[in-house]
Symmetry: C2
Subunit: 451 residues, 2 copies
């Protein structure tokens, strides 16, 4: 390691308490986007954090929570952007927390509080890493931009409208560090290079104006049964989705990506143990399951409800039924096209009465595993953690990454760990990971010099 980076690392260690002080104040703001609560306050806090570190800033209002941008233009060739969010998940159920969720609590080298992992902690990590670099080295090796939104935990409802208006801010960025990441169950850092897309629909059908006595079962159409018949048209027992043209536009998986999946340490036995099941669906072996996890689009019944669900045996023909389905999409599948095909397919299959009550969705996004920016991040990771990161070419989950992917390569990495409880009680990070996370950002800055 070169001496100057070593000095940045020392500076980082020295400013731990300052960083934790800022994190303490940040955690105090209960910026729960699901409740549209304190989003403006969290945005203003983020902006002030950037301003006091000499960023130029702007708060962009949207129809919902605001978006904060900050930038340090040093006239460098390259520009690095950080995408983060200042909103958090609801903290309920409060009684399952061992300490107050909106008070930073330090215990046995761990920091507890809603948002410490997802993602207020990362904002502090990133700002303080850059600050340490400046204090030690003076000149930054690249220009820095931040986009901090306040509705990520509520599907980033208004981020697209921001991106559309502020496209010039995003153009010409060379690489983006996405909000989340950390070390996995095996204590190995993971990089996530993409997300699946999603189409979420709520379907419903009503067959009667009121529930009927089931004596009438021979002469009335049961809404639950009607909806079931429609749902069984959606996929076969081999899990193939039957909506026409569903698979038509799927992008090919590159050989580098196949290799990355092969290299990824998917712990199937651990997954089975953790979720209490014996076998993967359709007799898949572990390697097949891993490939499916990363590459398969899905049609998953998140919920289904109709009729009497209480105790005992009410004999009723339900008048209505409802189902919630999430389709996870892979690269180049378009949610809106699939939605239109779904509507037409239901109509053509004899189910024009099955309504699509609402939907939302966005496409998948991926950065090629062989992209130079990924290499930069890998080298920085090695410098700090002394191992190669495990690469997830795509997450199984979804996010608004496509809004940025059109402009820049993206790597998601961070300071969390496998039991950070990002959406659960007792959300936490380790102080050692908090410090190492800063060092990793500093090491990325160092690598940016040579790009």
């Amino acid at each position: 390691m070169n001496l100057t980076l070593e000095n940045v690392f020392k500076k980082i260690e020295g400013q731990k308490d300052l960083a934790l002080k800022d994190l303490t104040d940040f955690i105090k703001i209960p910026s729960v986007s699901a409740k549209e609560q304190n989003l403006q306050e969290a945005a203003e806090f983020s902006e002030q954090l950037l301003r006091k570190n000499n960023y130029q800033t702007k708060i962009h209002s949207t129809k919902g929570g605001p978006v904060v941008t900050g930038w340090l233009d040093v006239g460098a060739k390259r520009t690095l952007l950080f995408y983060d969010h200042a909103d958090v998940q609801p903290a309920e159920p409060f009684e399952l927390w061992d300490s107050p969720p909106f008070e930073l609590t330090i215990k046995n080298g761990q920091v507890f509080g809603r948002g410490v992992a997802d993602n207020k902690g990362e904002i502090i990590v990133r700002i303080y890493a850059i600050k340490a670099w400046q204090e030690v080295m003076g000149e930054l090796p690249c220009n820095i931009k931040f986009v901090i939104e306040t509705e990520e935990e509520s599907s980033s409802k208004n981020l697209a409208s921001y991106v559309e208006k502020d496209a010039n801010f995003l153009k010409g960025v060379d690489g983006c560090i996405w909000e989340f990441g950390g070390r996995n169950q095996n204590n190995v850092q993971e990089f996530i290079l993409g997300v699946k897309g999603i189409l979420y629909v709520q379907l419903s059908v009503q067959t009667l104006s009121k529930d009927a006595h089931s004596a009438n079962a021979p002469v009335m159409t049961n809404a639950g049964e009607r909806l079931l018949q429609a749902i069984t048209k959606l996929k076969n027992e081999q899990n193939k989705i039957l909506i026409p043209e569903f698979y038509t536009n799927i992008a090919k998986i590159s050989s580098e990506e196949k290799q990355a999946i092969k290299d990824y340490k998917f712990n199937g036995e651990e997954l089975k143990k953790s979720y209490g099941f014996d076998a993967f669906p359709r007799g898949m072996k572990e390697e097949e399951a891993k490939m499916a996890y990363f590459t398969e689009p899905t049609c998953n019944l998140c919920g289904f409800g109709s009729g009497w669900l209480g105790e005992g045996g009410k004999t009723v023909i339900p008048k209505e039924a409802m189902v919630k389905i999430d389709f996870r999409l892979v690269k180049d599948q378009d949610p809106e096209t699939i939605l239109n095909n779904l509507r037409k397919y239901l109509d053509d299959s004899g189910f024009p009465d099955v309504k699509i009550d609402w939907w939302n969705g966005y496409p998948a996004a991926k950065t090629p595993v062989s992209h130079e920016f990924v290499e930069i991040c890998k080298r920085a990771n090695k410098e700090v953690y002394n191992h190669e990161p495990e690469i997830q070419p795509t997450s199984g989950g979804s996010g608004p990454m496509h809004l940025f992917e059109q402009y820049m390569p993206i790597v998601s990495l961070g300071s969390g760990h496998a039991d950070s409880n990002a959406h659960s009680p007792n959300e936490n990070i380790f102080i050692v990971d908090f410090i190492d996370g800063m060092k990793c950002i500093a090491a990325i800055l160092n690598e940016m010099k040579n790009w």
Copy 2:
């Protein structure tokens, strides 16, 4: 009409206030079997009612609510039995009642209160009709028996155990008047000669030890989807039930019964209007729908629940799913055999993991439409109402009639009307129907003389 029956009718009219006084006291007892509430008190009230009218009585204790029997043995050739119940449905929601549910309220020739139609009112009707006969004619034309249970509104849970123990009381009975009945929407009296059987099952499946993020959809089995696959095996889109041997033991419909169904005024258009649907299932015409209503066994999805049913779009793989199904059975189908076949069918279809959480059921029961006892009741009905009753060879619903049908022919008739609200707020009967109901019982006694 013969003079002596005319005198009994006059006596019936004269004792209206006495009968309403007893009904008033009976309604005051909130004997809600669903809450196991005041069942002993209602049984004792019934017993005293019989005792003060010179019946011999007995209260039979069971594991649940007691059963009251009463008898007047006059040494006649024939014996008539009345099956009734002294328990009522819950009165909730109280706020929808225009008068207190457990206080008899008379308004504009109507009597309101929980139980006036179902079935405390009928108990008073029947006892007072027999009393009037005795006061006018002295000698009864047949022996009289009463069976008054206290758990009818909770599936007659312990009636079978009573019937088994007291079989001698039921043997040798020539005809039974069942608990309920009255005039339909067209102001025509209806007789119900049977009930469908029922098999009610709750099925469930668990595929995971906890709900999972739907990112895992490619590698985990969704409990809701698993249960759906099992359910789709149960019947096809033509509504044919696919459980092996489901239709094997079905009794043939007699030509008399076919004729009775043909004669029955099934108002399909009214049903469609009332329940807001346009067409019967599978393109059935009205006559086909009527035949299906009376003769088809069914498999009806009373309820289905799995996963996220709240607002918005939670992306989850549910760990468990549950469905409630009622099979309505026709004559000679045995619920326990069908249950066993269902279990075997699920196993053989690859669903041994779908549990049958609980079940209950009983077989169908029917009295032949051409039975002499039905003719007796029809002649009596004509005498009072001056029209032929409409015959339902079987109800679309179910009841514990099979317990008595093994010993005697059964006709269900009574003093209610189409809007009696038997299981709803503002349960009511008309005083004129209350009196006519007594006259009909007296006319049946008169017909029993000549049998």
